[in-house]
Symmetry: C2
Subunit: 192 residues, 2 copies
DNA sequence: ATCGTTGGTCAACGATTGTTGGCAAACGGG
DNA sequence: CCCGTTTGCCAACAATCGTTGACCAACGAT
């Protein structure tokens, strides 16, 4: 019988599974999808490449499991209307720097079709609802959210992927001070 | 003697060289560096893979030759101070859509170290001088130029690489209307 | 007509990749 | 203690990659 008393409890392999996911996120973030090989990920995790296949089926399956992203976007309801730009930029910076998953996803999204579609999904399911709270005209929510995405992803691209020196040198507070008015305008300002 | 009378004139192979470059740009733009193989590029160009090696030495050499980018940024001198944002965004959109080189470079820059360094070079040698014309304080030129790059590259990323539907649906005029004030502020506004 | 130069094909190399199946050891409930 | 299950390693497969060298055909000046 497959399920005895500890059905949902820690099996011995959960440690390995987690190690694989951790190594996979690091490699995908550093090298992108194609150059991150199952062999190097397995070596980082200290196990055999075949284990990766057993636990995640294929390289695509591993990637899908490694970049399950939850942006944990805040509820904009209780916030003053003119602070949502600053709140969003601050939150995005924190999310991006505490966690290499987002960099991995961005790198892969730029090269891989599946990665790009996953980013489209995150945009639609996580950023759109938040934009709906901030944007008065429901008709314009997708456009406003997309404009916000251009600025936030553009900063992530230049700072964490391309690593343009002046973008890397900026402090978090400086970035918020510069980008918050932009995001604020994209979400709440009347049509230009 | 290698050079007879037609030293700088059209050799027969120049057609092939150009065909290879054209196919390479298409493939690098569509697939990124790793998935664009020399074999498929050669097939697109209608010749043998070994010719690519003969003419460009290696895959890296081919890439270097394929993405020699000149942004042809306009001289901002004769322009009214408050129109440089609009002028830059308009020019960037035109450059990006007339030519797949930029998309290729962005895709590769997101995955490949050499590609990222090439983008840093373009930023430094082509965008910085223009920002120097628009920005009053010389000390702040790199920061202002980097901020501009985040917005312009962010739009390119979401529209031409990730292809977020709302970003694709925008017309050029709408993009200029939304982004021009942002770029204008990044380049000319006082510190926030 | 001849012969070096150029433009091009073909077949193969060594390396690396994702992926698979077989087998050994450790575990754990009966 | 015993036996099925889990966890893991090893070796190998087939495919694909960048790259190379041998070989052939067409050209062009002498």
């Amino acid at each position: 019988m497959p399920d005895s008393k500890h059905t949902a409890l820690s099996r011995r392999s959960d440690t390995t599974r987690a190690a694989i996911l951790h190594a996979a996120r690091e490699r995908f973030a550093a090298d992108g999808y194609e150059r991150a090989t199952i062999r190097t990920i397995a070596r980082d995790a200290g196990i055999d490449p075949s284990m990766v296949m057993r636990y995640y089926g294929s390289k695509e399956g591993l990637f899908a499991a490694a970049v399950a992203v939850d942006l944990k976007l805040p509820d904009l309801g209780p916030l003053p209307r003119d602070e949502i730009g600053s709140a969003l930029v601050t939150h995005f910076l924190a999310m991006w720097e505490e966690n290499e998953v987002l960099t991995a996803l961005l790198r892969v999204g730029a090269t891989n079709q599946a990665g790009a579609e996953r980013m489209q999904g995150i945009f639609q399911e996580q950023l759109l609802p938040v934009a709906r709270q901030a944007c008065p005209d429901p008709e314009q929510v997708p456009v406003r959210a997309a404009l916000t995405a251009t600025q936030l992803l553009g900063m992530a691209l230049t700072r964490y992927v391309l690593r343009l020196p002046p973008a890397v040198a900026l402090s978090r507070q400086e970035i918020v001070a510069w980008l918050a008015p932009t995001v604020q305008r994209y979400l709440t300002a009347p049509n230009p």
